[in-house]
């Protein structure tokens, strides 16, 4: 005869082995339920009793691993968007500064995150973002050097004096 501790932490018993089989079939008792043979002080999990473990239903067959669809890395998309924005803004005075730095940072983090991963794609987008960011910085620097070599600083100083700042 056996005693068990149910899911509500109460002791049930004494019950015969046939009764336990019925409970296992009904799902009231599983392999991890604590069981004690009448007259013994120790509680043990059910699967450690060989005569009870044979009553347990067979484990479900191993299902094949689920192949998840490829998910695009969010940081890679952010890097691409920032790269495009930096190309648009690089003709302005500030070289598109927040965007090209952001695109390079996001792109490099996305590259290091997706390294050797098969679940997340987006390495191409991250590389495109980094390239666009560096390209916009180069365009901005070249155009600024040209601007100042053609006497652009005089115009800026004139505007400064006009506003007395």
């Amino acid at each position: 005869m056996y005693w068990i501790i149910g899911a509500d932490n109460k002791e049930y018993g004494p019950v015969s082995i046939d009764f336990l089989k019925k409970w296992i079939d009904e799902g009231r008792v599983n392999e991890k339920t604590l069981v004690r043979i009448e007259g013994e002080p120790h509680w043990r999990q059910l699967f450690t009793f060989p005569e009870l473990a044979s009553l347990l239903p067979p484990p479900p067959p191993l299902s094949p691993p689920i192949t998840q669809p490829k998910e695009e890395n969010g940081l890679a998309i952010a890097s691409l968007v920032c790269g495009i924005l930096s190309i648009i803004f690089c003709f302005c005075c500030c070289w598109g500064i927040p965007f090209n730095i952001l695109s390079i940072v996001f792109g490099s983090i996305a590259l290091s995150n997706t390294k050797g991963q098969t679940q997340q794609s987006g390495r191409g987008m991250a590389i495109a973002g980094i390239v666009l960011g560096i390209l916009s910085l180069l365009i901005g620097i070249v155009m600024t050097v040209l601007y100042f070599s053609l006497g652009g600083h005089e115009e800026i100083m004139k505007n400064f004096k006009q506003w007395r700042i």
Binding site: C92, C93, Y147, W163
Partner: protein, 128 residues
């Protein structure tokens, strides 16, 4: 820097929306009061001064200044694509808030890039 990015990406969507809105309001307020001074001090578009060609953002600051001050038609004349994309962006932002899905399809980014290129070519052919 990597830690900063990690904490930002761990923020909930609600906080991200709040931070973006805060920055937009700050930017708008600064431009409303100091727009003229900022536009005067900053050097003009480098591409325009060097080659005479208009870049996609040319007239953008003036357009935003006019938009904030309520002259939508004037703003559209200065830079149509920027103003239209600001309105489109606001609509998309509101729709994102409504549906609570913050995902952009990649095809729209490419379509937008094509739009910008076409706009830049057109504005240099006819004086837009």
């Amino acid at each position: 820097m990597a830690n900063l990015i990690k904490t930002i990406s761990n923020l909930s969507d609600r906080h991200k929306v709040g931070i973006v809105s805060l920055f937009l309001i700050l930017f708008g307020t600064v431009y409303y009061y100091f727009g003229q001074i900022i536009m005067h001090i900053l050097p003009p578009c480098l591409l325009y001064t060097l080659t005479g060609l208009k870049c996609p953002m040319c007239g953008g600051q003036r357009a935003i200044y006019q938009l904030i001050h309520g002259n939508i038609l004037e703003a559209l004349k200065l830079n149509a694509l920027l103003i239209l994309s600001i309105f489109a962006g606001l609509l998309i932002f509101l729709r994102m808030l409504y549906t609570r899905s913050f995902h952009i399809k990649l095809i729209w980014i490419y379509i937008y890039v094509v739009l910008i290129s076409v706009f830049t070519i057109i504005r240099n052919i006819i004086n837009l």
